[in-house]
Symmetry: D2
Subunit: 315 residues, 4 copies
């Protein structure tokens, strides 16, 4: 089982294959190379695949593109159109479906604010539909949105808050936006993962024990996430691996070193470094320096991707 901290199915697969050296049954992969974006669909088919990947059964669509790093209109609009494309397929074209968008994370911590920021830019229509007593519109579908906050500030499990709202306003599907953790620095702010498996407890970032999936909420759940941080322990071990590879190539001591490290199990190495980071590890994250601007740009991309796929009349 993959225990190393990653929220990306793509990475879980990479880790498994590099560690086991074997092909992963129960997981199907498909890859599309578009002009400025690589789309990979990881399909976790059965319990066996789910267990190994430490991810729920379902589709995980990953968009990888450097376009996300630029905030000019052209790059942004191109990225929005890739995202809109994938979301439109998942949402289908039934205009009577009602959507509730949930922005996970903490407003007050920049690296964790992607969810709430996206919610504040999402075009909501539920109050208008209700005000005019409408069930259907050619150009817009019924959308509501909520940022439930984090347990440390609310004292309430996020999943409890969401469940309360879902039971009350009864949407047909829930879209959950979250900041993720990645293993690879180069994926930070350059990857969007869309998943039909929802967010399962244990898969997330440490202490958020959220179970936001169809089983718990009773409606379809689509999760959209972007890795915005790498945790310090993960970063260290990954850099260490690259450094060791370099060392092996360059140094005459390489072979000797390699033999020794080969004997070290991956998890042994991780817990060793994790331990070394204590006690200051708890809230230590690795981010790009211009994180404020980056999160703003990502929130625009995701909210516009949602607005255009949920509201056919939105230009």
């Amino acid at each position: 089982m993959i225990t190393r901290r990653t929220d990306l199915a793509l990475e879980a697969k990479e880790i498994y294959e590099s560690e086991s050296g074997s092909f992963l049954e129960g997981v199907k992969i498909e890859k599309k190379e578009l002009e400025n974006c690589i789309v990979t669909i990881v399909d976790v088919l059965d319990d066996e695949g789910a267990k190994i990947m430490n991810k729920g059964i379902g589709k995980y669509i990953t968009l990888e593109s450097d376009l996300m790093k630029y905030s000019d209109d052209d790059s942004r609009n191109e990225m929005i159109s890739y995202l809109k494309e994938e979301l439109s397929i998942l949402f289908g074209d039934d205009k009577t479906k009602k959507t509730l968008v949930i922005g996970l994370g903490n407003w007050n911590i920049t690296s964790d604010s992607l969810g709430p920021k996206t919610v504040s830019k999402t075009l909501v229509t539920r109050h208008i539909f209700r005000n005019y007593n409408k069930d259907y519109d050619d150009d817009f579908t019924e959308v509501s949105a909520l940022s439930p906050g984090v347990m440390g500030i609310t004292g309430i499990e996020t999943s409890e808050t969401v469940k309360s709202i879902v039971d009350n306003i009864k949407p047909d599907r829930v879209v959950v936006i979250d900041a993720l953790a990645s293993r690879k620095v180069e994926r930070v702010n350059a990857t969007i993962q869309i998943s039909t498996a929802g967010i399962s407890p244990g898969a997330g970032v440490g202490n958020k024990r959220k179970a936001l999936n169809k089983e718990y909420l009773g409606v379809d759940v689509i999760a959209i996430g972007v890795p915005t941080v790498v945790d310090a322990a993960t970063l260290t071990i990954d850099i260490l691996d690259v450094a060791i590879d370099n060392l092996i190539e360059q140094s005459e001591k390489g072979q000797q070193f390699y033999n020794m490290l080969k004997d070290l199990k991956e998890e042994e190495k991780y817990s060793l470094i994790k331990e070394s980071l204590e006690p200051y590890d708890k809230n230590l994250i690795v981010t790009p320096k211009d994180i404020d601007e980056t999160i703003e740009n990502l929130a625009i991309i995701i909210s516009e991707g949602l607005n255009k796929s949920l509201h056919p009349g939105k230009k």
Copy 2:
């Protein structure tokens, strides 16, 4: 009936008495002059009083103090202790009571962010009580908190969101924090109103049709509000009144002017000015220039007042 825009019971009474020239039955007033703070308790006793005041039946405790305008430790701590005093009386000393704090308003608009900012500084304990399976503690009571957002961003009536959560987590009381509108510029950021009547529809700031009271939520509701803005029409008419008084005193034309204006009804005057402000009135507010710093200071005062009155062990 008082239709001029004020959320303060104190002002509703002032307006009534100045306009009608008569004493208000069904409303009892009590006033305490503390060292640096005037506490006024307006008690709306019956439907008659409620109708005239355009406020629900219940107590409205107003703390007026210039201490709120200073952010040094001494001023702040003195103000917190006045607030703690009044809240402690309302909360009583039953340590098994569970409290849900609701922060109304919009994170993204400084003048409207008092509620969410206060929530983010409130000491929540519900998750800890539940984690340790406790029902009682000597030093802390069970507190949770939520910022439900505003309808324009969520598409959901704020009262629906709160009702969903209340029905699910079943607190014994709800404390609602909100930014209010005042008629008087000198009360802005210098007044706290605590009310046991909750927040009734129609009493609020224009388009937020929230009914957060015991009748709807099924539990006690205590509202805490601070006027942070004056709307432009209200300001204009109030300044106009003062200006006219000055004019009457200074000018030989005074008597003539006065006779004419006496014939103008108050509401006629208001709607006249309101009309003149259209169409740019909608979102026009009058604030102090340093509103960002001011709201931060108020959020500390209210959250600490809550923390100290809800958690006996909090120093």
Copy 3:
């Protein structure tokens, strides 16, 4: 002389003509009605005109457009192109000219942060020119930028700071960005004024005694400003005027009222209201509620207008 608080030459002219009922010599006006933007050029030709207008000799180009109120790409880009057009004419096409952009105002106060926000989005190149020892480039001109802060935070007159930098780095022209005060609410955030007269002492917003003009700095000064606030006294008197007009039309008492007010001098009226606003007037402003978002949008428009007119190679 016009003493009522306005930073816009357009308004100074309007006030003069409405009050004096006569045509203003020494000031030439030209008006272009473009598709979604009205451009007015007020040319103050001589000392006589300057004295009456309370503005320095020079051109004042005003762009009025509701496009500035929308933050979608299309509205924004159209507004940027109107601004670029006017700036390009003023800047001319000599690519060896060096520009220093100065952002006046206070970072910490949203309504006053237009200057610093614009500076932070302006494309600066001076360090690159110097690093590569270049004097000329086909695509870019040499641009530097500075936000000198406000005297209350620095203890230094803004003009002293700018003069120190100008004397040291010797640009060929200074572009000054500032938030202005308008008399009319409908012009707030819907008007850009470009002036070749710089910013003269006494013309500004009360206590900033800045003299940023060619006489003091020794180089051409172009000021770009947007009215982002209306002061409360100005607003009140303007609303009052409209209200009185309405009253006169509606009321049979109109003629009587009119005769009386005719006798009141404009300044008498203003100082009367100003006085009524004391003592809370000092920092009281009227703004749109969504001022944070508005200022961000304006800073993008002005910085892009500058970037495209100063750097021929900038797309």
Copy 4:
């Protein structure tokens, strides 16, 4: 020579001694253990010491305290009093001395905003002294302050801007506030370094080539810095070192490993890891998650330390 990235003289000494195994001549150390704060004075006495330490000649006073991590009044005030104590000694008691405070760094990047934030909270008096034509006051000294911005936004070397202002307003000393880089995660936001050596080129954080010292500016320079980040390469190598130590203790392979690593030079190791971090290293930093709140607290501590040591009448 110490090339590993640290701005702290304390750490430079630690690195030297751990790497060379020898005592450092030309550098004198003194240590005071106060109740909740350790004060270490590193005195770089001559060119020899300066060269080895890669720091200018002068005193480096380091305050290490966990008090800085708490934002309650008591912790904050205790920390302020330790800082005030050290600054008062350096400033002396000549009340005619004029001080210019410079806040280095970028407003828009939270981890880099300590300088500008501190400046905005510093009590400036120069404009008041000049307004009243005073040279002396019993309670206050003449203080001005400026945040010159960063070269990427201004196009001007920070040192050029500061030099321009110093030449013009002629203070007797300059106090420079800056965010530093540390080698040790546990020192981040828990250490203040005060230095009489100013900020020398090459000693800083990579690309800021600032020379803010007495030689260049012509007046005394006192630098106050707090490490707010650790760069990713530094962190990795330090964690790696701890991990290896753990490994050596735990593993039977320890001796063999140790022998091998002993042969690797420190710099070889660093450049190896640095290389592995390319190309995404450039702006990658390690910070605590709650960096926004932390920087705010530090800015209060430093500005109050300055206010109380510069203004004898400030309570």
